[in-house]
Symmetry: C2
Subunit: 791 residues, 2 copies
């Protein structure tokens, strides 16, 4: 191994200058409110009253950044930097200020002493910037709050970006998380010819908040085996606090160079020589002390190289003379006078190795994906419409119809649209249509039996919802489009990733220079009402409850109730930016209700009366409103409406369907919210409302509690009653079936239960008989079909 | 490698008989409703109308089970079987029926033809049993619905069970999930002397639902590296469909034997020779065809060894003569006449190798942990009380006080209580107390700098919420006790695991032979209101919304508002069984409100008036109810009450605190629910209620929408407004601060805003000034303290 292949001797002081400058600026952010350049003696009042931030991981991040800079320039690379240890926010900010991007984005943070003071003061302070890499940080697509997603984001960014190199720093803390541990396998899905490169840099600084890390405490041979087992060819490089800076730069520079050489070889083999072998991609394992270059000992206890360096190594710098002196010594150890000019601007030598313009990692448009995003070339969704001569007269599988549409979207957008799923794309019926136009991208071994696998393809399938979500986030954040399709129950696996992405979008919308990225679109199928055969574990519609807690500016929830409403909804979602669109739709053969023209009108409003299903007289308020959201609830409600129309024609009904759930909220709570007047006009202010809902019933109450007629609202939904049974038994178990809904109407319309006592008893008996039949025969009673909607 | 060290030739036919019998019974469950023994020709009507279940993984599971049986008997092992590919439910049921446990648990499922018919019919059918391994399955502690947790459950079961061997079958599908991928590192935390053994058996059958699996499609050398990197010494054994049964049994038997020999050696070295080295534990990699022993080809397409064998290999057995004939041939290939007697009972040779009594894996009490659970030896929590002379007169850190109590719990229960956390036990202030009595268990490398690490200890810390949750579940399900402490925001990472455990508990409560296990106790600290410094990503109280969706029989939510109420709450939690207790508590210095006697009284009721804080006159209803749940909201509400008492004494107030959130629900919705009369008595039916809530405000509406006075309820809580700021700015951002709460009262008590216009303006100005001060100085205005509660 030749350790210093390409580095020239004169580059070493330049690398070291950047490293010292970035470290100095990082420490400054954590500690200083005045005296940024240490041009006078440091006094207690120069130190912030509240010391926040994390120093431990920063020097390693800065070292990598400095060396990446050199090689970006020398090789004219387009590169993105992902800081998995996102606590190292001060480092990322420092690098962006050094290369000038920070001042371009935030002109008040000038490249002089005043700007440096502002840079320091704003850090982790009210009205300032977060302590982690965040949407506010130039060059970042990766928030450092919740850990575990750096590799998934890196692969997502690299897909379809053949000219991009992603430096992905993996912290040894986050390396213990599940999502990160499976994230390594992204390399089985990366195509060296058509995708970019990910260079994982496992940064072992040995400690978490208060514990050692697992990967830092296994023998070197075991760690190397692990990296090889992940499919990497590891380059191990270790430093301790006694290594001279020159030695550090020579060895790390050579390691990075070697890694980039190998990537170049791999890409040449794939792109010019047609190799289709999965290569052993390089990965760097960088072992360095936590809190490197910081205080060795504080109050008699070792700090550098220990967990005590995780956050603020000198916690009493403002209150203790000794700590203050140590802080001054520490800051001066970076020799700021050699790094910044009299005005406080970085000296030319300090930034001599930095790339220029968009090649700066903090300025790359890949980290501000909205700049690169182009609108999708979408077909006319009406071309995929299901014919509906009369409501309920034909059956179709909604997701299969959507699959035909998505296939055409894929065909027209071969470079910037992908479909992600945890081995459920076929199960959710998007196949076979999508596999007629593309394949699943798979760069592991193949055998002749395989179907629809290819080295490059638009469908990404891995049995990890975390990977699907993380890849899609990375893909969107770098300016592309996509859909995540999954089983409804198991999307809870990524609740926390959803939360974090929603927070990212919310915070990004306040950052003026961030351009809007494409919405993150979920398609949840195999939903609660049709998981009868898989049983209780597969029955959970509660993701919607998680979603509606996030900012109304970001989240949208749609429950299209047939194929045409699903098509219209998805067309809207794929055109939108800045949102998270959650769409729940069925995959089973189900009645179709609206013609395409009606579907478009209905979806445009987001909710509305199904006039053909109710019996109200023009100009008079109905006796009852029958509302529904979701395909199965709407089918049940329409069947109940038919029963009532025929058997209790004296009851005047209005049938309402809700596709856009956020319409139910008040207009001050959500931009889609109906005005109170419109709400009252549709639902009435004083009539009973029987609402059949796809999810947990109380969600409807939570959305409507401020409405005038809320006291009249009676919601049926999934109340956590489930088991292995039949589809109709599932709705009966939860009192959402047509018979119970009709009973609910009779019970709530004044006088109806008495007038229709016989019907009521008959409905009750039908339920009892249906349940008994199912228990006896293991299937639904055939003549329940006779009680369905008929026009 | 000696491949058949201990197996005797005459054992091979016995192993094969069990394997064939288990496979036969598994296929029977998927297909048959009549003619269970094939004593007459198979006709279409014998086949179920709806074919459900998953055959693909079953033969491998059954092979492992058969061979484990042999070695359990020969070595008198206590063993637990975890079927990671839980879809293989029919296999687990078949094995339990063969060894007699099934009939002992379900006497109607007799060991004869009639019982076999019942066994087949009940499978995956309404009123029957789920298609996955489930609470209903004897011997299972691991649901097969959501994938990824088998290894975590296995390690949880093995901790503190030195005599237990856990055979943990890992499916190659689930191996792609994040939680499973990090689950391998459990071996760094296992002590070979004081814990049991986990034998992972990675079962590579090559396919998921519709895709190959990653680990089946990497070169053998890479896979072996991966296993070594995980710290295992792998034993690879591969079969294809052409291998003769004898060959299969010889080789797999020898592999299992070798693995158990190594485990025995490791345990001897640790237990008798005092070795403290982390050993390379054995792991088996079993490569076998998916749908092994099933139809090779169906309708001209290959099935055995492909993804087509995942579920039902012959989908048209009832409708197609050809499929029916194939099914008959398949079933007869197991030679049922040689396996079962004339009555349908297993022949002695079929079950000759099965262990007896509790040694049967389906009968082990470790899989019915309630049998082994003993009550904890708990100290009197009153001994840890904080002195409270007058409400608000002293400060304490609630979780630090709890830490003192938990330390004593640990001291008294050295073998069956553990504390789990993702590197946050110290940060959440349970340290230093707990480390005075125990250490963190850590079997990876150590260095002299380490503190509180030991080969055995009661605290388990790994930076993976999934591992913490999975380990604790495994520990509880095998009859022990524990607490999971975590940051509030990031507990969302395990939303889906929480859901699945709640479903397991709910389903278990319906299984008569399952004894109750200890509750799963969460301690969520570093909560939303005190994550001001970490910023927006760390602010999320929404786990409570996920929790309350689950069955009211299972979930409990507590928001103790000081140290003494936390102690009283936790004493209750640690005594309970069958629940999931979610406790949110602060770790910062905060005012203490109740003496221990008052705290016990208050917590026993779960909610109640803080009479000392209100100004209502006996016998008259107050003008307004000031309610709060959570420590920060209560502090703010009490400050508001003090302001009003002093400045608007004409307003008669009642202050209510809610510790047990479920008391707010109706009594028909939750067993803790207050009656409407009691609710109205406390909150009034007609007075305004200003409610300061810890979490998202609409959760309170969702819990109370049926209450008479709901229309008068005005809730303040976290409305997703967050950033990097100060604690008081956080409450101001969300309108939960004392000034706004007092304004809310003035605005809602009729006439008060007019009467107290000056006060209202002053409060408004205070808010504006406080926000400005924080922006200016980066800290809270010091004299906000002057507006705190004073008695």
């Amino acid at each position: 191994m030749v350790w210093d292949a390409g580095m020239r001797d004169e580059q070493i002081p330049l690398l070291d200058a950047w490293w010292r400058a970035a470290n100095y600026l990082s420490v400054g952010q954590i500690y200083l409110r005045e005296n940024p350049l240490l041009r006078r003696e440091l006094v207690a009042e120069d130190v912030k009253p509240r010391l926040l931030g994390h120093f431990g991981t920063v020097p390693g991040l800065n070292l990598i950044y400095a060396h990446a800079n050199r090689l970006i320039r020398e090789r004219d690379l387009s590169a993105l930097y992902i800081a998995g240890p996102g606590h190292g926010g001060p480092g990322m900010v420092a690098n962006a200020w050094l290369d000038g991007t920070y001042t371009e984005r935030y002109p008040s943070v000038t490249r002089d002493a005043a700007g440096m003071t502002r840079l320091f003061r704003q850090f982790s302070t009210p009205g300032g910037i977060p302590s982690h890499a965040a949407p506010e940080t130039p060059g970042s697509i990766h928030e450092g709050g919740e850990l575990g997603y750096s590799l998934s984001h890196a692969y997502g960014a690299a897909f379809d970006n053949p000219d991009l190199t992603v430096f992905c720093v993996v912290g040894d803390g986050e390396a213990e998380t599940g999502p990160l541990a499976t994230g390594w396998h992204g390399n089985k899905f990366l195509n060296p010819a058509t995708d970019g490169a990910v260079l994982p840099i496992l940064h072992l600084n040995g400690w978490k908040i208060a514990n050692p890390t697992v990967l830092a405490r296994i023998p070197e041979a075991e760690l190397e085996s692990l990296m090889r087992g992940y499919g990497h060819d590891p380059i191990l490089v270790s430093f301790d606090s006694t290594d001279a800076a020159e030695e550090v730069h020579r060895r790390f520079g050579a390691a990075l160079e070697m890694a980039l050489d190998r990537i170049a070889d791999i890409q040449t083999a794939a792109r010019e020589n047609g190799s289709s072998e999965r290569p052993a991609w390089p990965a760097i394992v960088l072992r360095s002390p936590k809190g490197w270059t910081g205080p060795v000992e504080v109050d008699g206890l070792p700090v550098e190289g220990t967990w005590r360096a995780h956050q603020v190594p000198l916690p009493s710098a403002r209150d203790s003379d000794e700590h203050l002196q140590q802080l001054a010594d520490w800051l001066r150890s970076y020799r700021p006078d050699e790094l910044f000019d009299d005005e406080g601007a970085p000296l030319p030598e300090t930034v001599a190795l930095a790339p220029r313009g968009d090649r700066r990692m903090s300025a790359t448009p890949h980290a501000n994906g909205g700049l690169l995003r182009r609108d999708l070339d979408l077909p006319d969704f009406r071309d995929f419409a299901v014919d509906v001569d009369a409501p309920g007269s034909s059956d179709a599988q909604a997701t299969a119809v959507l699959g035909e549409y998505l296939a055409e979207v894929i065909r027209r957008n071969p470079r910037d649209f992908r479909l992600f799923g945890p081995d459920e794309t076929a199960s959710n019926r998007l196949a076979p249509a999508v596999y007629a136009v593309t394949d699943k991208q798979w760069n592991a071994q193949t055998i002749p039996l395989d179907e629809h696998l290819a080295r490059a393809g638009r469908v990404m399938e891995v049995l990890s919802e975390h990977q699907c979500q993380g890849w899609l986030e990375g893909y969107l954040l770098t300016g592309r489009h996509g859909v995540f399709n999954s089983y409804e129950a198991f999307i809870h696996i990524v609740d926390s990733m959803f939360n974090q992405h929603a927070k990212w979008l919310e915070a990004s919308s306040q950052v003026p220079w961030r351009e809007p990225i494409a919405s993150l679109n979920y398609l949840l199928s195999s939903h609660v009402w049709r998981q009868d055969h898989n049983g209780f574990t597969h029955q959970d519609p509660g993701f919607l409850d998680v979603v509606v807690n996030k900012s109304a500016d970001i989240v949208r929830v749609y429950l299209p109730f047939d194929a045409n409403t699903l098509l219209s909804t998805y067309d809207h979602c794929l055109r939108s930016t800045g949102y998270i669109n959650v769409v729940v739709a069925g995959k089973q053969d189900s009645p179709q209700w609206l013609s395409m023209d009606d579907a478009v009108r209905h979806c445009t409003r987001g909710l509305g009366t199904l006039a053909w299903a109710g019996t109200e007289t023009d100009g008079e308020r109905p006796d009852v409103v029958l509302a529904a959201a979701g395909d199965v609830p709407t089918e049940e409600m329409l069947a109940a409406a038919a029963i009532l129309r025929e058997r209790a024609p004296d009851i005047s009904t209005r049938v309402v369907n809700v596709v856009d759930l956020m319409r139910l909220q008040s207009e001050d709570a959500h931009p889609h919210g109906l005005s109170d007047a419109d709400f009252d006009g549709l639902f009435t202010a004083d009539r009973p409302i029987i609402f059949a809902f796809h999810g947990y019933p109380w969600l409807i109450h939570r959305l409507t509690y401020k409405r005038t007629g809320h006291g009249n609202l009676h919601v049926r939904g999934y109340k956590e009653k489930g088991t292995t049974t039949t589809p109709f038994d599932m709705v009966m178990l939860n009192d959402l079936d047509r018979f119970q809904l009709a009973i609910d109407v009779l019970d709530r319309v004044p006088g109806a239960a008495e007038r229709h006592a016989i019907l009521r008893q008959e409905l009750h008996d039908r339920r009892t008989a249906a349940r008994a039949y199912t228990r006896e025969h293991g299937e639904d009673e055939p003549d329940i079909e006779g009680w369905r909607w008929h026009g």
